[in-house]
Subunit: 410 residues, 2 copies
Amino acid sequence: MTASSHPGTTAGRTANSVAPQRLTVLGATGSIGESTLDLVGRNPERFDVVALSACRNAPRLAELAIRHRAKTAVIGDAEQYGVLCDLLSGTGIRAGCGPQALIEAAEEPADCVMASIVGAAGLAPTFAAARQGRRVALANKECLVSAGDVFLSEIERAGAELIPVDSEHSAAFQALAGSDRKALERIVLTASGGPFRTWDLDRLSRAAPEEALRHPNWSMGRKISIDSATMMNKGLEIIEAFHLFPVTAAQLDIVVHPQSVVHCLVFYTDGSVLAQLGPPDMRSPISYALSWPDRMATPVARLDLVKLATLTFEAPDEARFPALRVAREALARGGSAPCVLNAANEVAVEAFLDKRIGFLDIAAKVAATIEAADVRGMIKSLRSLDDVLAADGESRKLAQSLLQPHIANG
Amino acid sequence: MTASSHPGTTAGRTANSVAPQRLTVLGATGSIGESTLDLVGRNPERFDVVALSACRNAPRLAELAIRHRAKTAVIGDAEQYGVLCDLLSGTGIRAGCGPQALIEAAEEPADCVMASIVGAAGLAPTFAAARQGRRVALANKECLVSAGDVFLSEIERAGAELIPVDSEHSAAFQALAGSDRKALERIVLTASGGPFRTWDLDRLSRAAPEEALRHPNWSMGRKISIDSATMMNKGLEIIEAFHLFPVTAAQLDIVVHPQSVVHCLVFYTDGSVLAQLGPPDMRSPISYALSWPDRMATPVARLDLVKLATLTFEAPDEARFPALRVAREALARGGSAPCVLNAANEVAVEAFLDKRIGFLDIAAKVAATIEAADVRGMIKSLRSLDDVLAADGESRKLAQSLLQPHIANG
């Protein structure tokens, strides 16, 4: 046996030798969904599209469903159902609408479900996919941050495969593949540092939403861009990594890497470090989640190290970016604390975007919400999806009330 | 199945659950051999030392053999045999001497043979280990550079495992483990650039041996230090990688990375890149070759990215470092050309160290030797170890004669 044929090589299925992968995309019109379907469109022989869903963009959903010959298309917003039905009339594609139709779409026979619905709305359909024992390509943060243990129990019970789609977690997953996990010592997720990486506290206190929305490397949605500016995204990613990989919280670190080329580094007990690098194009981690343990060719730009020339690394500054610490504390507190963290953060980010609070207030309000939840006995262990949804809803209300103290108390 | 228990994980043997690994170290008193035995000394329960060999340092060989309770100790130099026998007298350790004893030591029942004899002297014993179907932890360059196809045939025929020890090739091997080799697009080996990375041609033409021996990152032998200064080491490594991994020569690249932290980058067709990083301590790749597919803990310093702060990459300059091009041409020419390259390089490096030729003459003399060998019909396919040894010897003579044109022709 030579190095070129050692057993570490995956002897998995090849693109040409097997039936197409039956794929459902939840959140088809979002950024991850569109990128997923871009790959599907480039490799039609590899995929058989089962169901597509969207929150409210019925025209785009219909267009994608027709182009990719989906069997089912489900729109979340009931008001858009008529539009969807009209557009799909005569195509043979079944139209559905509302939360129950979404769950049924997730349950349709498929090999892989891309779970890319943003926010708490993604919980129920992703749980449904997990319960069917599907491969779940996970792009929804809430399943791990808010529902961590509950979600993993469902995955385990159903024998489902959980493959992360987020670039940092996909990177960790790739850097762990084929290696001895008993020898795993530390996982270091990289952070771009966001648009405010070099700003001092005084300037941060006056940062405007439009400034926070200018992410240096990735083109992302508004909520996620603000999370990147506060570095709460890295706090949430630490919680996700804690659930995805066999590590303690102390074995998870963040390093600021402004070029966003290295996505994650995995340290082993032999002193060796495996890192995954790639251009800022989500089609690369998405393709890995779809094709794992194999890889499929993608048209993403190839990394040019000579052109990049310099990669830099620096320690994150928790004084200027307290969200990191707040998230770690929520993870340490356990139970529903990360769920409260996530809900409170969404409320606070919205308030910041509406200019109701300042930039530095975001992390402060999240921390205050967790404290208030603790005082009210709201931090408890979560046992079911219903528990998670209830905790999420209560936390949002609590966070809102803390943002408007006079109205809430008056 | 969750990410934390996916089948990419190697379900191999663990340190605690199995019998010790029977280990032979050929070249025990060299830098790789000493590092190997340092690891053995730290993990005595993991290893059972079978045979140790050394070229001529009998006192150190005896010391290591006694400390690690080897069964056999073989010295290459017959003049040192008496010293070795005296030192081992009464220990129960069998002493041997000379090329045949070396081969017999390599053939003693073992699970792994660390093949770390430098130069052509390592060929016969490493071949012997391969023929026994052992795991060959390969640190000897000649087996791949001079004997590539012949050596790989032996490995294949005997069902031996070939695991590279060289830091760049170990890095590639690690970055390929668990990944889909069909999707392998490119392997990029890094080069420190050596002590003359920033020197211009005029200054290079006057470079002295003592300047060339100052390697910026690694502490190495004299020959290897000069190879690093000319970048011939990277040319040889490209030839080795060509034999070790399922790539064409065109898929192998060099990037200059002065910090020597990233050892290799593997590019996949999905745009993803897996890289292996580590401190400049050979105990890390050595431990991997011994423990693969698992990893064992080592005391090597852990990488501190924040302290490193900056990693840089630049294109190699073949105008100033023509050895790279000369090596690529030898690989393209095939047959015995890489064997001539290696032999001529050893002769030229020795001449440079003796101040008989200038720094820039090294690559020029190597290229001239290959041309002269071609003219003389000496570039041919090699079918056996004897062919390789004959080609190596003839090439050295030819290279010597070209270094002394007046004596050789006069």
